[in-house]
Subunit: 337 residues, 6 copies
């Protein structure tokens, strides 16, 4: 089984309990999460060996982030300690026609002010097969971008594969800046996770016909072929989300292996926590890939992994791989006694 | 922008947490609310200057009610202190096929035993443009009725407008008593908030044809024209609620400007807290009116204000006006990052 | 009104709050429940005199189980104290596409290691009209089976009626063992609660045609007539559950009086707590029966009782009989004030 | 063993959690309690058969008060249902140099507006040996006083003993009114629980020398002999409390059997909940008396019962009699494993 | 009565509940506080008219800080909106031999990056009598220092008095930097709140003899006279804290009016929340001063105000002035009913 | 630094929140702990490399115990999965004069029914320097005893040192059985943790003179010399606890190196959680030993480690080594800002 190491920022997440609003909330639930950290945790839960690379300050908030990762079995030995603060994001969990809100307070976090020289990159990467990171790590700061590039290049030198999730965040950077920086690293990427808007808005690759509900597959196939003609990705992986309300979505997985397009079952799911569902999708796909499974299984695991994450509070999925498999194998949803 | 002062009772609301039932609940969530107080808070949140008039006892429960109002920026200087107790209502929050329940324990509250002479009415009202109150203030006691009348008459003398919400509560008074007393003050009212049953059951004004789903608008138009021929309201404002379950309703705003009938978009909403949704509707309407907006905007804000309140725990909405506007402008309901 | 005594195990139920998963939950909500105990509590809530027979250890966990029963007015004087432990079950409450999970930790509980000689059976049963128990009491251990048989036989001797719920639990015993033991007591049973799978899989009674959505009634009638030709039940009572998700089911009651088949209204219900809904159904039926009501009322109460239990946290219903009646009498589901 | 029935008011008690202050508390812990109800619960916990007489409204708050009593095994069959409301008291739990506060909202509760004719007094009292009540029941209203007198007189007719706790509450009535009414029933009392201030301030019985720390016993003996010369009490029972802070008191039991004065060990105790400690003292004394124990044991149980109640949240003690005995038998206070 | 306006930073305070440690805490209690904001809130509670000046970002965390201030009646109209973030501090509440810990995450908060030109200083200060601020506002950043100076100078021009609390925080700035900057504004100060270490370590003013328990007053008098010979303070106000453990301190107020030294009663207090006790002391003193009370009363109120704050969770006192007075008037600490 | 592996049982600990009693508690806090597991966690917190050996069932409760250990960095690779259940203990946390209570429900846990053949003992122990276990692992069952012996003997063969804590639990086994079994393994022990009662009651070694407060050291020295003459321990380590109340103890460390007796400072500590304080003591001692520190430092760390654990909720200490050092270095206990 392939071993996967991820690089990025892990933040303290503060959210009012019980779907309350921010205003005057007398307490916040504390979770720890971030795109790449969430992927590492999910992979560890699914039985894949995994590690997480970041920088965290030498205080109890930093300790707590590490405790979180370690509790799931994520290897935390490559985490550098230092810097001033753990990035924070505030999450207000929406419901029905009231949407969720995020306030970022992540500027000047330890990882976003870290230097390439903080990391012994070669010794950190040695022994791992896949390096995963996302556009967030590139976007948090120039330092983040430099560190990302250094890790990606060294990983390639060491013969590792690169998994990259576009993960565009408009509160972090503009489409222009994202486009410029992401293009610099895209040639190294083997597996690309991206929504169709990432291709059109960030890379400027536009299919002939606009997206229609009646021919989604046609639209994606056209888009994927255009992307593939430009970038040499092993897999392009997307998901189709229909946002019926802040607490009810439908979700479908879709991917392209350079040749053929694959599509998962579509699920309708009620939502306890929307955040991290994309990361659970990525982790599910990487899990199938790391285990050498076929693309059908892999896409199904990815989609079921994401769908189930919608029902779990916090940034990370707590499911095990057999529970994920049960969903796409259509087990009864009644209580088993 | 018009400045709005409201008059009524604010109660301590006690509800079991987590949609639990009353029986044996080991704790109660404490909120403060009441029809007119809720309207004042919502208006303050939406940026309208507002004050609340009531009487509250000189103890920490009374202090807490004032702290609640003040925290939203409602002017509380006209609140008279004295009397024996803060009225209480117990709320059991229903779910799906189990309906919500209310136990009133509001008899002999400070405001319901207050005297007209407790208030320096003229000095309280001076400087305000609109006086809002509801049938509840008339119905809590004879004293409440006398105080209401005194404020309404003085407000008219001072050139203020009167906004009145029928807000019929069968646990407070009979249809007969309500009819008799409401009719006494209706001639002073400029904006009337009322359901169709209020007109038929309390005022005895019945349209020619019965209410049918196929021609709701026709029914309301007929009803409104009959009412308008009798009372000189600037606006008659209603809402149409379809109670699919205790936690799922559909909701439409409807109003009449003496000439034409207007109707908002219809929303289907899952419910976290049903109480205070009518007050959020009223506040949304008064907000648009106070800001001098057109009737379409005003009705849309009112309806979206009410719909969003269904998703917020407690008696009052915590939304800001731009969040309300986003709903009827059809912004995506997905999390924004 | 008939007086009903039930026999079985009451367990400590531990469930993570807020639909959280087991993994790493920092607290568990503590409830007490078990099939027959839940029936006794529901009956007491509905106004039927009731008692519960079991054995519980002489410690505070045992005391707490008794406190729970006593708080609802269930007579607990026949509970024998002794043995080592209170059985425990862990419940993870599912949501949407994530199903609920149960971990049993009930082996060697006081009742499952009790002896027939622990109970003064005749003096316990005297004065009661109906003895109710379920397949769980037979299945927890050989001792449980022997105790059950002894109580059933003595009850019959005393002229009591026997109510029996199959309540098959695959984590307790195999279909074969269940079949063998249940058959030993079935001749004494007057009212049998069972799903169609209980008849086919445990008793081996199979209707001619397979179950189809289009002719459920036909299927059940055929099945019931076959069962009735073999066993002399006064009533056979089942429910039809359509599991759309872990938090949304549809539910219909169905029963057979040896002659005719009856069917209740079908309800669609969102779920707060799935556990104990079958017990609420049984209790509703026994309540109608104990009160001498007709079969239509009885089946309607049973179904509404179960449906409402889905919206209540914990093992037991907290509704009163008039609240149950309101549901099938189609009262408005809006808040009453 | 003697069987004890108590008469009084049971209230809903609302207290902010975690020693928080009232002001703005977002929740209240809900307990049920009242002097005589607390005595009944403690006696039931200690193994004495007991019942409670009151009137409670026919709503879920009334149901919850009954559920509370029933959960401890207190017989609730003599509770009359009706009236408007359950009395409420708000409790702010003090700490160190910040004292506890009580806000009463108990006016017009069901029992305080009940009529003598609401109760079938003779049939309620039949079969019980001791009637216990306190000055609170006399003081809540004139109706309360009339009901108390009717029960006391009938109890005496039936040969029962009367236990009476002065329990003076300055927020309920004046010393004058208390004196006038208490004197009317004192001739029927067999066991009187009272502080020295009750004798001096309410009955006007003053010892020769003022109270000094150096000769407390002398002071009390003088006081008791004077009281005994006027009233024919079997026992006069008091406690000496030294209030070092709101969360640390010392406590000593003291009593007089008409002949000799007895004194318990003095305990210093840190306080979790001060309320109901007097009731636990009374219950401990009545328990020893009901069991026919000697006065030394009885006074020790009473004092230990009260002291331990200080460490238990809520109005009532949750200890069992053997746990109480262990305290005055000087068992180790370390954890036993 | 004098009207007091304060200037400073208000932060979001995050603390694990129940005296838990930071590490892995699943939730944080959210409070809002900061030295000068706490003084404003306490003064408002004590009945003094007050306002708070700061800059807060235009998001819901900023809104919540304002809601907090407004709820107590603090005038918030001079708060400028803008900037990136609300400063945060994490508080771990110690117990017994485990001390409390603070992690500051306040860098680059809106007020610390604000400009003098953000504030219309003259119009903000007009109508107020006293400007209060502390060393924290000077120490958060150079911008904070410039803003402080600008406000102080303008206040003096307008004839206002300046109240200044040294409030040295070693995690904010060095003794050297503090000394340099504080000296720049000290000439404008009328009332100085400072510990003896502030005079010796920051200002370099050292009494002849070292501090001894036996002659604390002599030590302070010598110190105060030396300070007074150099600075023209109306009052120098200190407190003497003996830290017996993290949850038990003794506390004495001490002050100097340029002529005579005054000392309050000494209290021993158990601690629920140590933070903000100095601010409660300052507020108590300013309250007495604003009301024109004599120095004995003023020092007693200050000390009692601080002592009581130790028993209240959160940054601010919730006491009212009459409750504070009761403490130093030696009212009983037993519950009053 | 020496690396330490520990062997034993880890249980689910269920305790009512807020020092509530068991009876009727609506929730339990869930922790995981057990003597040897707690030692491993504390050592990991103090920076010592550590692992834990046990058997846990393959369910989410077992997973949660592993998550707990892993979160602190304890190596869990030697944990065997299988068996029926995780042992449970219920803890009622005492206060003041009410003592803490433990109910064990640990029979037939996975480790107590495990077989020697479940463990690849040699490969588990390889690479570790010290094996630590306690009398609890010997006492849980015969299987536990056999497994313990097998590990101890293999460890000795591999040249490891054995650390053994008597940890006598009267609810697990009798003094006789404990004596018989402990004596079988004592010859292999290098470091023995034991109270004086363990030596006298279990081993039957009695000093000449009885224990007196005036000459504790003399008593212990005599006892230790007698023990040393019989067993070849490198260190005998004890603690002296004076139980003033369930929430206040004094605590002193004492040890003997075969030659000289050492004694730590005595601390008086208020208690949040008494459980696991002995394990924190053991871990502190082993930490100093593993780091090669001198005996004075080691004993001081051990004592401070234990004392601080009294102030931390749960079975394990959350302190870091520098925080422990600060206590015995007499740092101020005031908040540091």
């Amino acid at each position: 089984m392939k071993r996967i190491i991820t690089l990025g920022e892990i933040m303290l997440r503060l959210s009012p309990p019980n779907r309350d609003k921010f205003l005057g909330s007398p307490s916040f639930q504390a979770n720890y999460g971030g795109g790449e950290a969430n992927v590492a945790v999910a992979l560890a839960n699914y039985g894949v060996e995994t590690a997480f690379i970041t920088k965290l300050p030498n205080n109890e908030i930093g300790d707590s982030a590490i405790k979180h990762l370690r509790s799931f079995g994520v290897n935390t030995r490559s985490i550098v300690r230092g810097g001033d603060r753990v990035g924070i994001y505030f999450l207000e969990n929406g419901f029905s026609l009231r949407n969720s809100k995020v306030i970022y307070d992540r500027k000047d976090s330890a990882i976003s002010t870290a230097l390439v020289s903080d990391f012994e990159i070669e010794s950190i990467l040695k022994g791992w097969d896949i390096l995963h990171l996302s556009g967030i790590t590139l976007g948090i700061s120039n330092n983040g971008f430099e560190i990302s590039k250094a890790f990606i290049k060294k990983a390639k030198e060491l013969g590792m594969e690169i998994s990259f999730d576009f993960n565009y965040r408009s509160k972090l950077w503009s489409l222009e800046e994202a486009g410029k920086k992401i293009k610099e690293i895209l040639e190294y990427v083997d597996i690309a996770f991206a929504g169709h808007l990432d291709f059109t808005n960030i890379l400027g690759i536009v299919p002939k016909k606009p997206l229609e509900k009646v021919d989604i597959i046609g639209y994606y196939e056209d888009l994927y072929r255009k992307v593939s003609s430009k970038y040499n990705f092993k897999y392009i992986v997307s998901s189709i989300r229909d946002v019926r309300s802040a607490s009810n979505n439908s979700y479908t997985g879709i991917c392209f292996d350079g040749d053929k397009i694959y599509r998962s079952k579509t699920y309708e799911v009620d939502i306890i926590d929307r955040v991290g569902t994309g990361d659970a999708y990525t982790a599910g796909f990487l899990c199938g890939y790391a285990m050498g499974k076929d693309i059908d299984y892999t896409l199904n695991v990815a989609t079921a992994s994401s769908v189930l994450k919608h029902t779990i509070s916090g940034d990370v999925t707590l499911m095990k791989i057999d529970e994920v498999e049960k969903l796409f194998e259509n087990d009864s949803l009644d209580v088993q006694r």
